[in-house]
Structures are given as C-alpha cells and as structure tokens.
C-alpha cells in the first residue's frame, strides 16, 4: 500500500517523479502524490494488482507538464516499459520537450507493437525539424493502423511547413 503522508508538497519534485517512473508498484509513493498525479481515484485504482503500471504512466504524464532534462534518459528507458500506456506517455513527453536528443528513441518507438505508442511517437517526431525524422516518418507511412497513418500525415505536413525553404519536403511515399 502507498505510504500515507500528513503533508503535501505543492510542487512536484523531479526526483520523486523519476522514482515513480521506474517504480514497479505504488508502494513507495506517498498517497498524496498519487492523488496529485492520478486524481482522487488513484489509490483505489492501484489496489488492483494488474494496474500497478499506472503509477509509471502518471509519472510520465506529469513529466509532460513538468519537464526536466534529468528525465531524458529515464523516459527513453520507459519507452521499453511492458505497459503500453507508460510507453505512450513517455513518447509524448519526449516528443514535446526532448527535441533531437530523443530522435532515435522516437524513431524506434515508431515501430512499437502497439499503435497508440506509434501514434504518440509520430506526433513527437513532427516537432523535430530534422531530415532523419522526415525519412523515418515516410518509412512508416503505410502503418497498418489508420490513426497512426493520420498522425504521420499531420507530422509530415507540420515538418514541411516548418522546413519550407530548408530542403525537407513532405512526399507521400509509394506503398
């Protein structure tokens, strides 16, 4: 069970978030922090053994809002988490904040077995104005999932707009 606390730190602490991001379960995370991360229903949800991954998913989600460069490596490791929600949220946080540092990790996530992770990775790559990102997105263009295809299209369009005049073009690749 989560540790009860009698006080609440108003500001989320990066170190605590990084601990939560790699926590196997919620036992080491104070209950008040759980509520701050996952809402008032968080402690109840974490009573279900198969939902323990939520603590890591919430930590990744919190890093989307509260970025720290210290989170770069842990989030890249989180892209290999067994739970797809953790991988998806990690891809989102990296995609929003990490820029070219997360390029390779996101390109790899573009081949994740679960489509929600690939969709998040595509959206993130759309923010990295880089030829490799474009090539990776073009390679993945004919993803089996419609939503991933749409995300790749949006990402390529965005990159094309951003890089107009820099030689990076959005071309629909042949199937």
């Amino acid at each position: 069970m989560p540790k009860p606390t009698t006080h609440y730190r108003q500001k989320l602490d990066t170190f605590e978030l990084l601990v939560a991001l790699e926590a196997p379960n919620a036992s080491e995370v104070p209950e008040e922090m759980l509520i701050a991360l996952g809402g008032v229903g968080a402690p109840k949800l974490l009573q279900v053994s198969e939902y323990q991954y939520w603590i890591r998913a919430w930590a990744a989600r919190a890093l989307y809002y509260h970025w720290s460069d210290l989170a770069l490596e842990p989030l890249m490791r989180a892209l290999h988490d067994p739970a797809w929600r953790v991988r998806m949220n990690a891809a989102r946080a990296l995609g929003l904040h990490a820029g070219v540092s997360a390029l390779e990790a996101l390109l790899e996530a573009l081949r994740d077995p679960y489509w929600r992770v690939r969709e998040a990775a595509a959206t993130g790559l759309g923010r990295i104005n880089n030829l490799e990102a474009v090539t990776g997105l073009q390679d993945a263009f004919w993803d089996e999932h419609e939503a991933v295809q749409s995300a790749i299209e949006r990402a390529l369009s965005k990159l094309e707009r951003a890089s107009r005049g820099k030689g990076v073009a959005h071309r629909v690749p042949k199937q």
Partner: protein
C-alpha cells in the same frame, strides 16, 4: 412470541401478531412511527416542539398521545419511557418496512432487490398530514423524499438487472412503475422509451412521450427537453447540425465579460498547456457562461453535457445520457466488443454490429472498474471527432457516474495538444461538490496537473461597469444599492437590472422568478434544517440571531442549519450574505406560515426582554 409490524411505506398499517391496531389519534400513530424511525432517546421537550409546537399544553398532549399508543399496543411495551425522554429500541420482535428498504444492498441479488421493491406500496405514511405540527411536516416531507429516492435507486437497479438478463418485458414493467412514482423526472421517461424502442414497440414509446408532454404541460407548464423529444428520431435524423459552437460573439454584449478578463486569460494559458480545466464557484456566478464563451473562442466542435439534480436517483444516469448524446452525434464510432458489452449495462440501446458477449462481471468492484474502463475507452474513441467536452454542474452527477469520472481523470490518456486529444472543461458549484472530490481537484491543481479557475463575486467597480453597459450611463448610487442587494453575483445582478429596465421603477429591486427559483433550489438541496433556519432568518430579518433561533428551534436544527447555510454561502454567521438570498426565501413562505413565525418570534423576543 409477540411481533409488532410497522408498515408505513404506503398508508400506515400497524399490526400486532397479525391484528391491525387502531390509534385514537393520528398524532399517537405518528409519534410511534417517529420513535421507530429516529433511534435514540428523545426528550419530551423536543417531542413537544415537533408535534405540538403551537400548543401551550404540549407536555400534557404528549402524555395523552403516549397513553393512546400504549392503549393500542396493549400488553406489548416496546417503548422505553423515562421521566425526561422516550425511545424505541430495535429488537427482533419489531419489524419496520422502512428498516428493510433502507438496509437493502444495492449490489445484492435480484430477488432481494425485488423483495425490497415490493415493500413500497406507496409514499411514506401516505394520507397522513398533521397541519398543526410544522416541524413534523418538514420531517415527514424529508423522509418521504429520501425513501422515495431509495426506492427509485433499488427499482433502477432491478431494471438494469432485468435488462442484463434479457427480461425486457419485466424491465419495461418496472420502468413504467418508475415513471409512475417519479413522474416529473425525464430520466425515468427516457429509460422507458429506450426500453420500448429496444423491444421494437415504437407506438408504445410514442404514447409514453405523449404522456410525458401532457404531464409536463398540465402540472409544470413546460415541455420535455429536445433530448427526450429527439429519442424517437435518432435513427433517421442527424443531430450534428446545430451542435457546432456559435460564432464568436464576445463583442455582441459588452456586459458579458465584465470582471472576468483575468479568468479568461487563465483559461487560455491552461488550454495551451493541455491541462484538465475546472471552473468553480457558487451558483449564478457565471461558470457556464465563461466555459461556453471560451469554448466558442476556440473555433472547434465542443460537446456539452450537464449533471442534473435528478440524476442522483439513477446510477450512471449522467454518463448514460452523455454516451447516448455522443452516439447520436457520432453513430459510426468504432468500439471494441468488450466496450460495447460493458456500456450496454447503462445504455441498453447501444447496438452492436456483431454478436457481443454479455459483460463478464456483475457490478461488484471488479465489474465497476471494467465498466469505468469502458467509459474511458469510449471517450478515447470519440475524442478525434471533437475539440473538447464541456461538462456543466458535475456536482449533480449521480454517485456511480461521479466514480466513473474519477476513474476517467485517473486514466485520462489523450491529454496532449495533438489532434484527437481529449480536452475537458468541467465546472462545479463549490458549495455542493463532495468535499473529497474537491480536495482531489485542488491537489491536482496545486501540483500543476490540472487548472482550477475559481470565480468570485464581482467587485463594486465591475458591478458599476455592468450597470453602465446596460443603462448607457453611470449611476453610482444605484450601482452601490445593486451591489448590496445582489452581492456581486453576475446572474442575480443582470436579472435585477433587466427587471429594473422592464418595470422602469428604479426605487425598488424585485427578485425575478428565475433568481428566486435558483436560490430556493440551492436551499432545497441542503438538509431540511437549513430550510427551517432560513425561513426563520427571512421572517425575523434584522432581529435574527443564533440566540433567537435556539429559543425557537432545537439545538441540533440550529447548529446543522446555520452551518449548512454558511457553507452554501447563503448566511455569514448570523447574517444573510446578500439581501436577495433571504428575500427569495421570504417570498416563498405562505402568508399563514409567515404570520405564525412572526408571532413566535415576537413572543420569544418579548420573553427575552422580560427575563
């Protein structure tokens, strides 16, 4: 063994070993029932106040009524009669139908729920009125409402279980009973219409809709909502037209954003960060208006739905309505079979393209989480079709929907600013929200995981500007009077200004029926003691004090009533927050009752002076 049966869910019927007991007076019967339902010792003074408040010989009258009760019960003596107090303890030789209905486990099996339903022969103590005992009448009214609500909860659960078991005919029979008992609740009609449509009885559904129209017209002088009217047209008509937000009209009405510029900026910042957004404040403070205006300024499709006070009676009523609404808008949304199977528990009309196995669990804890997961998955599936959702008055969500919302917040997974994100703007009334939910929201907001925008009353300069925008001229004195009268509440202020403009009489402020209704609804949702204290305060006016209230009402009523009124922002210690609030209460008190109260207040004040 002697057995006393007290059946009061319907016309009272009290039997001792199967023989119906006769009571010489209605008050004697009412006294026995009161003692049976209110556990603990009751002082004779308190009982006198409740049953004979207007009589100077209350204690003698109580003694008489007690004698009648004992006469009726003969040798059986369940009452504990002490010099100062009376009580009736629970024991195995006494059975009260109310106890059984109140104790029923909503998660229990169908047979036990149906047995509980069978106890409800009609409203609590049907036909019994004690016109000379206002406190008892208040208690009776509150009990009647609570027991009817409990019955409706159980009945709704029975309907759902019959739906799950595929017993559509029985579900329809129960749904008809629900409409009979709760004839002014649209939700009851909706369930029945949906079930009739599900059983392909369209003409029956039409008849129910017509009955609803007739009833609403005759008794409420209103009409059913478009949502109800539209139920029969869903399959043939797209309702998407008209759902798009209205074009930006911020400059149309200069009064619209007076005093709210800062909050609008906070909304914009929270939106850019992709946060969950909550708007909180008292009723009439402008939450819904701000939310809609902000949504309109985004220029995309927002779906709005609201919690309603009537939702409380039906588990998942709020979410069932929201899901139906979105299915009307997005009939082609792709849902996984398990999601459909789960959602059919609360939206039986949900059609599956292929055979769907029934939901795998009952509604125990595990089953609930599965259902809540399905609700979350449904939101994920519809998210790409819209820019966001606006949820109005979440505090009215029924308990089950509130729990599902909590789960939705926890498992919220489309939060970034990419296309297809789930964006929520939620508003709630601070005084009516469950404290633990509000606490959770505040913690999330403090941690930067959500934005909480709290709307306060407008300050005097904003009221002056508002007035000026309506009158086309500055009138400082009128603005100050208006501020004292309506206390900076934008809705009350605007309604009052409109009433002034219509009447042309700028000397007297009047309380419009709309405002009056909002205030009375607000008080009606508080414990009965709040209404009693509010009435006393409204009649007493400036002479009201806690000491006066204690003289006329029981200590518990005063403490609970005042505390509820303070928490609801209606009273501030002993004083009304704004003139308008207790003015609305005063307007609602029948003249006869007001006169009695005035008399009692005068007597109490006189006695205070003498002593």
């Amino acid at each position: 063994m002697t057995r006393l049966n007290i059946s009061v869910l319907g016309a009272p019927e009290i039997t001792l070993d199967g023989h119906v007991l006769k009571f010489r007076t209605r008050k004697a019967l009412a006294l026995l029932v009161f003692l049976a339902l209110e556990p603990g010792r009751h002082s004779r003074e308190k009982l006198q106040d409740i049953f004979w408040s207007d009589s100077s010989s209350g204690l003698n009258a109580l003694r008489g009524a007690l004698m009648y009760v004992r006469d009726a019960l003969g040798d059986f003596e369940p009452l504990l009669i002490e010099r100062q107090a009376l009580s009736l303890g629970r024991s195995s030789d006494i059975w009260v139908d109310v106890w059984s209905l109140e104790a029923v486990n909503l998660a229990g099996d169908l047979a036990s729920l149906e047995a509980a339903c069978a106890l409800y022969r009609g409203e609590f103590l049907e036909g019994l009125t004690l016109t000379d005992a206002p406190e008892f009448s208040d208690w009776l009214e509150a009990r009647r409402n609570a027991l009817r609500d409990q019955y409706l909860h159980v009945l709704t659960r029975v309907i759902l279980l019959h739906c799950e078991a595929g017993s559509l005919e029985t579900a329809i029979r129960c749904a008809r009973e629900r409409v009979r008992v709760d004839a002014f609740n649209e939700g009851a009609y909706k369930i029945l219409i949906e079930l009739l449509l599900e059983s392909e009885n369209r003409s029956g559904a039409l008849e129910v809709l017509q009955a609803c129209r007739d009833r609403f017209k005759r008794d409420l002088n209103t009409v059913p909502s478009q949502e109800l009217e539209g139920l029969l047209e869903l399959q043939s008509k797209s309702v998407l037209s008209g759902m798009l937000p209205k074009p930006q009209t911020r400059l149309e009405d200069a009064s619209r954003f007076v005093g709210r510029e800062r909050e609008f900026q906070q909304l914009e910042a929270a939106w850019e960060k992709g946060l969950l957004i909550y708007i909180a404040g008292l009723p009439g403070i402008g939450k819904s208006r701000l939310m809609r205006e902000f949504a309109a300024s985004r220029g995309g499709l927002f779906i709005e739905f609201s919690g309603r006070p009537g939702d409380a009676a039906v588990p998942y009523a709020s979410y069932a309505r929201s899901i139906r609404r979105m299915l009307e808008l997005f009939p082609d949304v792709k849902l996984e079979p398990w999601v459909i199977a789960e959602l059919r528990r609360i939206v039986p009309m949900l059609k599956a393209n292929s055979v769907v196995a029934p939901a795998s669990h009952g509604l125990g804890e595990e089953g609930k989480i599965r259902l809540h997961d399905a609700i979350a998955a449904f939101h994920v599936a519809v998210a790409p079709n819209m820019m966001g959702m606006m949820i109005d008055d979440i505090q009215y969500f029924d308990a089950a929907s509130a729990e599902a919302s909590i789960h939705l917040v926890s498992t919220w997974e489309r939060f970034d600013n990419a296309s297809g994100a789930q964006r929520f703007i939620v508003n709630f009334c601070t005084n009516e929200m469950k404290p633990e939910l509000e606490h959770g929201i505040r913690m999330q907001a403090k941690a930067g995981m959500a934005a909480l925008i709290e709307l306060e009353s407008l300050e005097l300069p904003a009221i002056q500007t508002l007035l000026e925008s309506k009158l086309d001229q500055r009138n400082e004195a009128l603005g100050r009077r208006l501020y004292t009268f309506a206390g900076g509440n934008p809705l009350f202020t605007l309604e009052t200004i409109n009433a002034l403009l219509e009447s042309g009489n700028f000397q007297n402020f009047s309380i419009t029926s709309n405002v009056q209704q909002i205030i009375l609804d607000r008080i009606a949702r508080l414990p009965a003691s709040a209404s009693v204290v509010a009435r006393l305060a409204a009649v007493a006016g400036e002479q009201f004090s806690t000491a006066l209230a204690r003289t006329l009402l029981s200590e518990n009523v005063v403490l609970e009533g005042l505390e509820s009124l303070e928490r609801a922002g209606i009273m501030d210690s002993e004083h009304p927050k704004e003139t308008i609030l207790l003015g609305a209460v005063l307007n609602s008190i029948p003249e006869g009752v007001a006169n009695v109260l005035r008399q009692r207040i005068a007597n109490a004040l006189e006695q205070a002076i003498v002593s």
